[in-house]
Symmetry: C2
Subunit: 213 residues, 2 copies
């Protein structure tokens, strides 16, 4: 699944939609679908609603996907694929665990900011259908990966031994995931600035002065 | 509004419901209503559903409240009242701003753990009705209070000057609010332990060794 186009975060560009590049089209459809699902709820959204939001006919959507379920499934996969991609980057696989953890946290912030509608959909999934259950299982797999990094960092002596690895990973990703609640792409705050503040809080804490030993 | 009974977190105790203590009854009704709203969605819940979940008749519910809207309104108020109560405690009003911030964060964790269904409802509100809009306005007021403490802590030199106060408060409360997603009251993890790990991350960071100056 190609990345969504950063220049059209909330609506497809008609000129592009007519350009005959099917990859881009499928992408726009998916992006708008995720946005509408987030606004109206998945159950409350019909293919009719999606067609209206896209300014196309229902059959134009069916050119790309076979069903509403497929749109949900692809959107959730796009979000999870991007998160797992971060865990395979060099910064996540080489070096001390504490640095790999920082790489995963920063990369996750980047994914959330870049794929906001898809990750928002992912984080609101409650496991009501098979597609949602599969997404939740992948989220748990990701959570375990992060908790393992925290444990490894503690074993290395680079992460404080008085943090509970499971609780700490939940809280660290609580910070990351909160981005879907408050981040507004159009307010000039870049993903990198959010990642910097998050990494500062997570690894150094906001208090000045020497850490209590 | 009296606090919900910690010993009956998810269902009313029939013996108690019949004990003729109307305060307790209203409390149980509210607690169960919040839980059912969270499970089925507010719009998807009828007074009939609530009566079934409580094991009482609809008229027994109407003994306590006049409408479903009133239940929502009271539940959201209970959550926000408890959070604002924290900001009026001595630890939140005296001493250096950085310590007051820690008090507010720890107190908020306690409120989330103790009032989980009500705060869960509060954090899922999207502002679709007047009642929801009012709750969102109170949340914003609370957020501003927290951001002001961060700014004051920076001015005092106790909080690092390289954190953006608005982003930092969002992220800190991202940790707090994530509790509604993962905290399970029955798994032996106390609110105090969560607050300790959260305060450690927020103020000292998880990395060992001296902080970079």
């Amino acid at each position: 699944m190609p990345r969504s186009t950063p220049t059209s975060p909330t609506s497809p560009t008609p000129g592009r939609r007519r350009s005959g590049r099917p990859g881009h089209d499928a992408d726009s459809v998916l992006h708008v679908a995720a946005r509408v699902f987030n606004e109206r709820g998945y159950d409350g959204t019909s293919m009719e609603d999606l067609a209206r939001a896209l300014g196309v006919t229902k059959s134009a959507i069916y050119h790309h996907v076979s069903s509403k379920t497929e749109l949900l499934s692809r959107s959730l996969d796009l979000a999870m694929d991007a998160l797992f991609e971060v865990t395979r980057e060099e910064g996540s696989t080489t070096g001390p665990a504490v640095d790999r953890l920082e790489h995963v946290l920063r990369g996750s912030v980047r994914v959330l900011v870049e794929q906001l509608p898809h990750v928002t959909l992912l984080l609101r999934v409650r496991g009501n259908t098979e597609v949602e259950k599969r997404a939740l299982a992948r989220r748990r797999e990701f959570d375990h990966l992060v908790a393992a990094l925290v444990r490894e960092g503690i074993a290395d002596g680079d992460i404080r031994g008085d943090v509970d690895p499971a609780v700490a990973s939940r809280l660290l990703f609580g910070m990351v995931n909160s981005i879907i609640e408050w981040y507004k792409p159009d307010r000039g705050l870049g993903g990198e600035a959010v990642a910097d503040t998050l990494a500062l809080i997570a690894f150094e804490g906001i208090r000045t002065g020497p850490k209590p030993r």
